[in-house]
Point group: C2
Amino acid sequence: MYALGAHLLVELKDCNAEVLKDLGKVKETMVSAAKEAKATIIDVSFHEFNPFGISGMVVIAESHLSIHTWPEYAYAAVDIFTCGDVIKPEAAAQYLINQFESKNPSIVEMKRGIVSCSNEKLPHKVCAAELQLVS
Amino acid sequence: MYALGAHLLVELKDCNAEVLKDLGKVKETMVSAAKEAKATIIDVSFHEFNPFGISGMVVIAESHLSIHTWPEYAYAAVDIFTCGDVIKPEAAAQYLINQFESKNPSIVEMKRGIVSCSNEKLPHKVCAAELQLVS
């Protein structure tokens, strides 16, 4: 069985709450995490909510990273969805665990888009040697 | 046990491949799905790749919706991450199954941020009666 995507669901508990409520820090950390994974960043969108909490997305050529923070629970939910053999999502996850100072992290990996090995075609985001953004 | 977020991992197989490669249609469908779920849309980011395939994010006040399409496999991976009791993620999932004409859909729900019932505080994105975007 071969999966088109690898999806890490990262539960970051017992984090540094001050960091989780800092929009600039959370955005910077997520962008850096994408770079740690060797991803190609295409778009970034981060927003802060009242009374507190941040939601952010980093769109990458290899799929996306997302985060939602609940500072009052010292908790952040992170998703790292990637495709391709070059990218290193585990490196991004470990970087986030360290940067948010999570004392109780957990990671679940879900395989997305399981396709038959008999299918000779490679996923387009893997076989495209020169990935180009057309719009 | 009480979870801060509900995360639907939606596998859309055997879809209409022509729809999955149409940037405008995919974007319109995802935005409509967010509205079907009664979500408050904050930001939208969709991109088309070469040779084909679309990645898109809909940031909502209640978290996010994301999609990655592989038209050559007639497959799309959708995530619907929500928090709060008002939003209806299942309605968004069913809408997407219908719109992309998936003949083989599956949904897995993951609870994100499980917190103790003894914690009297409500999640900020639920207790904030008048959710305001501050940046």
